[in-house]
Symmetry: C2
């Protein structure tokens, strides 16, 4: 079919999440049709990122500096820590723009099925960090999945002896969400956390 | 949010067809999580393809040679020409594996709305090629869309004076369907039931 080099590139694109064989072929053809405006800049950005990107040794964020920009920003609250599962969750929280403290990326959830225990997630390191940096509040912003909630529960237990306020994200109707399309669990949680009006 | 280099990479990925802002972010994070097994090979394949890929000056296929492998393969029938809209359609036909002649990639369809006329598609060059290479059959393998069929009709009219049998793909191509997304069996069946035009 195509030359082996091009076939190989299509196969590699197909290993990215969300891209199948056809969509990776379309992506590669789009790149080859726009060499100057898309392929060349993408190649350069990929090289730069491959060279410069590193995990923050303090929080686990991805940045070009270590410690990362969020860990070293003096305008951020130093004694509030928001714990997330993954870097994409940290970025999602930053897009929301309402949290102005520090982050900690677990890098996953506890999972018996995948043999992920507290050591794999570096829970001891997290507890050490909370003590050293004198955190006053730890917000557990984990997914509302079975593994996410198991992990949150485990963390809450481990944090209980520490002099720190432990909270979790509120549950309820997503902003813009239509009641009709929400699952029973969300509706029940929203009802439990109902608020007085006016 | 992320470092400017990483943000830029995510933006560029988001310009590929089929990738939105969230999926390009996921793709970039997947790359950074698998630097050795995914990022490095992808970077290398992208560099190789950027350097080596070129359009075949004879048929318009993308390959690392010019003329391409299909144009120079001595085992292929020299006097049958299959005309497609785009490189992805040529690759789809090759996947079906039942056509063993030469190809011609138009690079689009006639479209009044987008001001694409016969000059933009190089129709004169195609007619010249058909005469020079003594084609005996021209198969119009255009999409069953309005623009595709308009183009096929126009080509059939232009080909009428030439001593060449003009056919189109047979029924089996679903109306409104794009060639690129059809399964191999349908493509093979459509090729078998091709019909004379005019």
């Amino acid at each position: 079919m195509a030359a082996p080099e091009i076939e190989k590139l299509i196969r590699l694109f197909g290993r990215l999440p969300g891209l199948g064989p056809r969509s990776s072929q379309r992506a590669v053809l789009a790149l080859l049709k726009r060499r100057e405006t898309l392929l060349a800049p993408l190649l350069q950005a990929l090289e730069e990122t491959a060279r410069a990107a590193r995990s923050c040794s303090r929080c686990g964020n991805l940045d070009t500096r270590d410690p990362c920009g969020l860990c070293t920003d003096p305008r951020r609250e130093e004694h509030a820590l928001l714990v997330v599962e993954a870097v994409e969750d940290l970025w999602a929280m930053e897009r929301a723009g309402s949290f102005r403290g520090r982050y900690h990326v677990l890098g996953g959830t506890l999972s018996a099925a995948d043999a992920v225990g507290p050591e794999e997630l570096g829970i001891d390191r997290l507890l050490g960090r909370i003590a050293t940096e004198k955190m006053e509040e730890v917000i557990l912003a984990l997914s509302a999945t079975v593994d996410g909630q198991t992990t949150a529960h485990y963390l809450a237990e481990r944090l209980r002896p520490l002099p720190v306020r432990v909270t979790r994200l509120g549950y309820g109707v997503p902003v813009g969400g239509e009641l009709n399309y929400l699952d029973e669990g969300t509706l029940a949680a929203a009802l439990r956390s109902r608020q007085p009006v006016g």
